[in-house]
């Protein structure tokens, strides 16, 4: 046990004991749902049911119920897909990359961020499925031995790489998340009084004993999974970006896409974590654990990734001019001055200009401002994908095919529906799952907790017999 430098701000405020931490986090699980939760659940369910209805209508009648046409073959579907995948980036980044970098502040946010990741990837994964003309043949994208004259998948296709990337990412994230949940489920099981609850959580906890060996193995597995997950953080969105980068369409065919997409994904992922955490910490009274410092850290990530994205945008513009390629330069002139100029400028404002307001400490530690900004960033990132997908393809090589895309109510309904389904999942998570990794939070209480930080050296050493021995 070491004492953290005083100059670092505490990561746990107040003076909670270990029991307090358990009580605070498990309050939602061990009590009846609150009114706010119920209201949100009703709203989310309505949106979800509407969305499911739209999807069923889409699957029943055909892709024509969307606003796509011969020229614009992808629009909101793939925009939503990339947007959700991007959001799904923050969770694994926080849990894996920050774990490897031993960033303790991740303890307070990794669980809700990972939950967000998983639900976001669910939503994302749905779009490539429902955007297919014949979803009932969707399994053909898997390299399954078959008897159709032994037809094999096309390994040249980035869409196939997507299948592998997303499914790998989802499974690793899910396992990582679940491994992290096991000790917490063990605690819940131990505290549970109602038989059904006890049974459920004891099943979920996989017989967690909490002995030292279990903890040691837990740490090892976490580290291994973090090591596995880290490359995935970069691979998933790189591969998603290759859907566009490997094509011939001006505006898609861009070699900087992989890093640019990853940065954008982290950018939007953190913004989404902000949106959710700001509500959760307030509603579930977790301000002690998710502190202003946490919010600030995340805002700093937003500044950095936002700047990378900004540089990428400007690089694209410059290269399109510098390349001298007629189609390439027109594609970008069209982006900012063509019929979709408003979406380009919405993207630029939200993603490039607004994050720089966070250079002001006052603003980046302001909760209300952060909340608004997190929404703006996610709007901006949605527009980024829309701009890339639609404004590139709607005016490509042959002017005779130039076209516009107009969303239908089904397009909008499916998107709203995924927001609803996501929210339903998230609300269920908040109610039935330990919303913070409280056993891990406990591990930093005595190093980064406020009361310990404010102790004098003597008091601290008095607490720890280890130091007493040293004195001898």
């Amino acid at each position: 046990m070491h004492k953290e430098a005083a100059i670092r701000e505490p990561l746990i405020l107040g003076n909670p004991t270990y029991t307090d931490i358990s009580n605070d986090v498990l309050h939602a699980i061990e009590n009846k749902p609150t009114k706010l939760w119920k209201v949100l659940m009703v709203i989310a369910s309505i949106a979800a049911v509407w969305g499911v209805g739209c999807i069923l209508y889409l699957l029943g009648v055909g892709i024509g119920t969307w606003g796509l046409n011969n020229t614009v073959g992808w629009a909101w579907d793939i925009t939503n897909f990339v947007w959700w995948v991007g959001i799904g980036h923050a969770g694994t980044l926080i849990s894996a990359v920050l774990l490897l970098f031993r960033q303790k502040w991740r303890m307070a946010i990794n669980r809700p961020a990972e939950a967000m990741t998983i639900f976001a990837v669910f939503m994302a994964g749905m779009f490539p499925m429902i955007h297919m003309g014949r979803i009932w043949m969707a399994y053909w994208v898997l390299p399954i031995p078959n008897q159709f004259g032994s037809l094999w998948v096309n390994f040249n296709s980035p869409l196939l790489w997507d299948v592998f990337a997303i499914s790998t990412y989802l499974s690793v994230s899910l396992v990582f998340w679940y491994i992290g949940l096991i000790p917490d489920f063990g605690t819940i099981r131990d505290r549970a009084t109602r038989p059904v609850q006890k049974l459920m959580y004891s099943l979920l906890s996989f017989g967690w004993t909490g002995n030292a060996k279990a903890w040691q193995r837990f740490e090892e597995v976490s580290l291994v999974l973090a090591g596995l997950a880290t490359p995935l953080v970069f691979s998933v969105h790189s591969i998603v970006s290759m859907d566009f980068a490997t094509s011939v369409i001006p505006g898609w065919h861009t070699t900087i896409f992989p890093p640019y997409f990853v940065a954008g994904a982290v950018f939007s992922g953190f913004a989404m974590v902000q949106t959710l955490m700001l509500i959760v910490r307030k509603a579930m009274r977790l301000e002690q654990y998710v502190t202003i410092k946490h919010i600030e850290y995340m805002n700093i990530v937003i500044i950095v990734t936002g700047s990378i994205v900004g540089v990428a945008y400007l690089t694209e513009l410059f290269i399109s001019y510098y390349s001298g390629v007629e189609y390439e330069s027109y594609a970008f002139i069209n982006r900012f001055s063509g019929p979709y100029w408003w979406s380009y400028w919405a993207m630029m404002t939200c993603n490039v200009v607004s994050p720089h307001l966070f250079w002001s400490k006052k603003l980046r530690t302001n909760l209300a401002f952060t909340f608004v900004m997190s929404i703006i960033v996610n709007i901006g990132m949605w527009f980024e994908r829309f701009v890339i997908i639609v404004t590139s393809v709607h005016r490509d090589y042959l002017p005779s095919s130039w076209s516009m895309f107009y969303p239908t109510w089904v397009d909008i309904g499916v998107f709203m529906g995924t927001l609803g389904i996501f929210s339903v999942f998230y609300l269920l998570f908040l109610k039935y799952f330990p919303v913070l990794a409280f056993n891990e939070v406990k591990s930093i209480l005595k190093s980064s907790g406020e009361q310990y930080k404010n102790m004098s050296d003597e008091e601290f050493k008095a607490l720890h017999p280890v130091f007493k021995k040293d004195k001898k």
């Binding site: 055909g62 614009v72 297919m132 037809l151 096309n154 296709s157 980035p158 869409l159 005779s400 095919s401």
Partner: protein, 1059 residues
């Protein structure tokens, strides 16, 4: 002696002891332990299978067995018991026949499969049309299977039998004092003879005519051409003493001046001109023709003309007259277009006797001056022949007016109407007169406005169910044969008339007899049977005509005509009524293929509209752009001569200012209203004048509609945005200099390697694109076949016959106006039409890539924005566009399931069954030629009234060689792979190589100007290989590196490059 061997089943049998004999009689070798089993009561009671269980299993078994016995409905494919000699399932038969609908005449070949006609192509044997057809001819096969056809005769709207009709009508015709027949032009000599027979048989009752003697026929049949060419007939009567339409030989015309005549599209016998005209557009030939087009609305000819001058319709006469003056005649004064008229006159003078001047006006006086000009130029007897007469237009306006007058006067007791729809095309004036006629008979094949008002409807067969013959031009005959038995209880008009004349012979026998007596003697053949069989096989025959080489002497009164023309004054907004290539005079109005065929010029489907110059529309604040959500301004068009219709206004660059154009043929009241759209522009014709004029003056009033009015336009961007790797064009003089770099530069890239030139300067070596390819060549590059195409943009007029031909061949779904508007048209073959813009003029050769001075001032963004708008009077280019069958195809690499792959013959193939519909291929197609099945067009109820393939009858037109695609799969041009396979099999059977030209795709076969060459790139001797190597050959956006198999030939305009 046979050695009978015996085989023993075992030693026991060999021994054959009594025990064995006994046991061999039992069914089972061993005694079954039945008694043992049933006798043991305890065991039985202990057994788990109870009686209840047994009954359960029994019940289940019975139920399962009976369920299994229920069959799913069986669709039977029954083989022929006696196979008809000529029908082999799976093989197509072609029958020569004839198409004539009152407007278009074309000898055709009808492709039939298992007895069903499914496709129509032109008959290349014909020296008149040389196989040219247009979309209407091609798509007419669909109307055979139209469920809205009349299926039985009817009296006063009630279905009846032919016997009843014959009985009742026979009596009424006998009783009638005067019987009149109204037909379109009759080019069939046998039909003419039927009419004679009919009148002879009913001679006693024929009303004997009045003073209309001058051009009267010997019986009271009135010819009414839906689109009147009365002006030409009368002018020729005045000029040469014969009310005829001459034949034109465009093949010999070095200069063509057309004033408002769309001779490549719909004017007169355009199908007989268009191939000849295209022959004169070869830039590497000895000479290339030059075309001047003076016109108000942009016509197909206008888009192809070298010089197009927007002129108001009221000035057509003045332009002709001043052209006459410039040529040295006593014509009229200068016009506002004098410079252009002078230019035309100069070109005409330089090619005397090798030029043609035509005019689309129906004004006799204007046509007299046109005749005078052609006489002055010495064109008669050279490019225009008044001795070889075209019969396809015979109607005189005066005769129709006289008929209406007679009807109004109560002088007509019975009126028989065949082949025309006067209630639709003339309107109230005819309807009112028809009420005075006691007995009215219609021979319509489909319920139309006139048939609905007739007492007797005696539906005739569809042309493909009928025998016919034609004498379209002096000395040229053709035969039409039925390719299917009548589908319904219908009877051919001629047969009905024969019946009512008391002649019971079939029309087939009648024609044969007529030919034996009249045509055969002129043919010089020895045996009639041989002559008949050969003609029936070939479809066409030429016979020597008695030489009446008395050169026609021009005797027109030009000065009178000139002064009459001077009096023509336009006022207000001038109207020009036009025909478009799909609907024509109205024949295509209820044909979904034609309604969905984008107009070659506006690219609009399913509508007619008012065309107006965009700059005038901007002044009025009208919407000038196209798009899914761009609603159009709607106006009421009030004609000064009566008639008022409501139509949207659309921007037509090149429309003469102060004029509007409206297409006729739309807006029928009777028929499938899902199919028939638009408003009836025939109502705008001033019927108070006896001479029909398609020009007039109108006032436009804005209409506020409750809902926005949308237009289904397939091309919303009008210009090519200066992209000279999409469209390459040049002027004739630049081309003639022979420097390929000047008009069709080869793409090169700087390689990075340096070399030193003779001046000691180092510079990078430019290498052709191919050297930089990341991809290797296809392994089959020079092995086997590599199919491809070459499209000559100089020959392509944009007529769109290839579009409907492709629809017909490849079972392409009709999706209706709403879906077309949403940019989802399914056509595999489209024709891109680009207008030039002010800043990047298309015709400005070599300037397309370089920004003009004005563009520099505007800056890049300003220039692009400005380029989006077409010029006021743009030059136009048509570019057929279909799958380019790229050897390095973008679509093939991105499909996750390998549903689209490359064949070893260079084809980009599509496996519909494998497609899961991600649309990635469509996004990654640089040419945007892939089409997605957004809905289940063949079953979804939303398309029941639109897609003909949804009803059993309409399905009969489907090509059995091509799969009908279902929902959620991608499709695109296959280069008619089914025809390639057939061609290869034919060659294999014949034991030869595939001969060049033996395989034709649907588009190349339909092209009236042979602009599309299909062939094998690997066949060094092929026409395709030669065209590919031509200095005009290029590939669209070749620099992207897709390495397509489709080549285009640079368009060359007969102009001089701007200095």
């Amino acid at each position: 002696m046979a050695n009978t061997k015996k085989y023993w089943k075992g030693l026991e049998q060999l021994d054959n002891d009594s025990k064995f004999v006994e046991s061999s009689n039992d069914e089972f070798a061993e005694q079954l332990p039945v008694t043992e089993f049933l006798g043991n009561k305890e065991d039985l009671e202990d057994a788990t299978t109870t009686r209840r269980d047994f009954l359960k299993y029994l019940g289940f078994g019975v139920a399962a067995a009976s369920l299994a016995a229920c069959e799913t409905p069986v669709t039977k494919a029954i083989p022929y018991l006696n196979k008809p000699e000529e029908i082999t399932p799976g093989l197509a038969n072609y029958y020569a026949s004839t198409y004539y609908d009152g407007n278009d005449y074309a000898p055709i070949l009808v492709k039939t499969r298992e007895g069903r006609p499914i496709h129509i192509v032109g008959n290349k044997e014909s020296v008149l049309t040389k196989g040219a057809i247009n979309a209407r001819v091609n798509a007419s096969v669909l109307s055979l299977y139209d469920n809205n056809r009349l299926k039985a005769p009817s009296v006063k709207g009630e279905d009846t039998t032919w016997a009843t009709i014959d009985n009742r009508l026979g009596k009424e015709l006998k009783a009638a004092k005067s019987v009149r027949i109204l037909t379109g032009s009759v080019i069939s000599p046998s039909a003419q003879s039927v009419l004679d027979t009919f009148f002879e048989a009913n001679a006693s009752t024929v009303f004997v005519g009045d003073e209309r003697v001058a051009m009267k026929r010997p019986y009271e049949a009135t010819v009414y051409d839906t689109i009147s060419y009365s002006g030409i007939l009368e002018a020729n009567a005045a000029s040469f003493g014969k009310a005829i339409v001459p034949t034109y030989n465009f093949e010999k015309a070095k200069t063509i001046v057309s004033v408002g005549a769309d001779f490549m599209g719909n004017w007169l016998d355009a199908l007989q001109y268009v191939n000849d005209y295209a022959q004169t557009r070869k830039p590497n030939g000895e000479w290339m023709s030059k075309t001047f087009q003076f016109e108000a609305s942009m016509s197909l000819s206008g888009t192809n003309a070298d010089v197009r001058v927007p002129v108001k319709p009221s000035e057509y006469g003045a332009v002709i007259s001043s052209l006459y003056a410039h040529l040295g005649g006593s014509g009229g004064a200068k016009t506002a277009y004098d410079a252009r008229v002078k230019e035309a006159a100069k070109a005409l003078k330089a090619s005397k006797g090798e030029s043609i001047v035509v005019c689309g006006s129906n004004d006799k006086n204007v046509q007299v001056i046109v005749n005078a000009i052609n006489e002055l130029l010495g064109n008669y007897g050279k490019t225009i022949d008044v001795n070889t007469v075209s019969n396809s237009k015979q109607g005189l306006d005066s005769e129709v007016a006289a008929l209406i007058a007679d009807m109004n006067a109560g002088k007509v007791d019975a009126l028989l109407i065949s082949g025309v729809d006067p209630l639709f095309t003339i309107g109230d004036a005819f309807a009112k007169a028809m009420k005075k006629v006691k007995t009215t008979v219609s021979f319509a094949t489909k319920m139309d406005d006139t048939a609905a008002a007739c007492m007797y409807v005696c539906p005739s067969n569809h042309a493909l169910e009928s025998w016919s013959d034609a004498n379209p031009v002096t000395g040229h005959y053709s035969l039409g044969q039925p390719t299917i038995s009548p589908l319904f209880d219908t009877r051919q008009t001629e047969e009905s008339l024969l019946k009512w004349s008391g002649n019971d012979s079939s029309y087939h026998d009648f024609i044969k007899k007529y030919w034996e007596e009249n045509v055969f003697p002129q043919s010089g053949s020895l045996m009639f049977t041989d002559f008949w069989n050969k003609t029936l096989h070939d479809g066409v025959v030429e016979v020597s005509t008695p030489a009446s080489e008395t050169t026609a002497v021009f005797a027109g009164d030009v000065s009178k005509a000139v002064s009459a023309v001077k009096a023509i004054k336009g006022n207000g907004i001038e109207l020009e009524l036009v025909q478009n290539m799909g609907v024509g005079a109205g024949v295509g109005a209820d044909n979904p293929w034609l309604q969905e065929m984008p107009d070659p010029i506006t690219k609009i489907t399913w509508d007619n509209y008012v065309t107006m110059n965009p700059s005038e529309m901007e002044e009025k604040g009208y919407e000038t752009h196209f798009g899914q959500e761009h609603s159009m301004n709607v106006v009421t068009v009030d004609a000064s001569g009566g008639g008022s219709i409501q139509l949207p206004v659309i921007a037509q660059p090149g429309q003469a200012k102060g004029t509007v154009g409206v297409a006729v043929g739309y807006g029928k009241k009777v028929g499938n209203q899902e199919e028939i759209t638009g408003a009836n522009a025939y109502l705008l014709i001033d019927r108070k004048k006896s001479d029909v004029s398609y020009y007039g003056s109108v006032t436009l009033k804005d209409v506020e509609l409750d809902e926005p009015y949308y237009i289904a336009c397939t091309q919303t961007q009008q210009t090519v945005m200066g992209r000279d790797s999409v469209i390459r064009e040049t002027t004739l003089d630049t081309y003639k200099k022979g420097d390929r770099e000047a008009f069709n530069p080869v793409w090169t890239l700087l390689s990075g390697e340096t070399e030193t030139d003779e001046h000691g300067h180092q510079h990078q070596v430019a290498k052709p694109l191919k050297e930089f390819d990341l991809w290797g060549d296809q392994p089959v590059k020079n092995i086997g076949h590599r199919w491809g195409m070459s499209i000559d943009m100089n020959s392509c007029t944009g007529c769109s016959a290839c579009v409907t031909s492709c629809v017909s061949e490849n079972n392409i779904a009709v999706i209706g106006k709403d879906q077309v508007r949403r940019g989802r048209i399914m056509h595999w073959m489209r024709i891109d039409r680009y207008y030039s813009s002010e800043h990047q003029p298309l015709g400005d050769v070599g300037g397309t890539h370089k920004a003009t001075k004005e563009a520099e001032e505007l800056g890049a963004i300003g220039a692009y924005t400005s380029m989006e708008n077409p010029a006021d009077n743009p030059s136009v280019v048509h570019q057929p566009m279909m799958c380019q069958h790229c050897n390095h195809a973008g679509c093939e690499t991105v499909c996750p399931v390998a549903a689209t792959t490359h064949s070893n013959e260079g084809l980009n193939m599509m496996a519909y069954n494998r497609c899961i519909g991600t649309r990635y291929c469509a996004n990654n197609c640089a040419y945007k030629v892939r089409r997605f099945n957004w809905f289940n067009y063949i079953a979804y109820s939303k398309f029941t009234d639109i897609n003909p393939s949804q009803d059993d009858l309409g399905r009969m037109v489907l090509n059995p060689d091509v799969v009908v695609r279902s929902r959620g799969v991608m499709e695109k041009c296959s280069l008619c792979v089914q025809r390639i396979q057939e061609g290869k099999l034919d060659a294999k059977k014949a034991g030869s190589k595939v001969q060049d030209g033996a395989i034709q795709t649907a588009c190349s076969a339909a092209c009236p100007t042979n602009a599309i060459t299909f062939g094998d790139h690997n066949d060094k001797e092929s026409k395709l290989a030669a065209e590919r190597e031509s200095d005009r050959a290029y590939r669209v956006i070749e620099e992207v590196g897709q390495d397509g198999n489709v080549y285009y030939q640079t368009k060359v305009r007969n102009l001089k490059a701007k200095a």
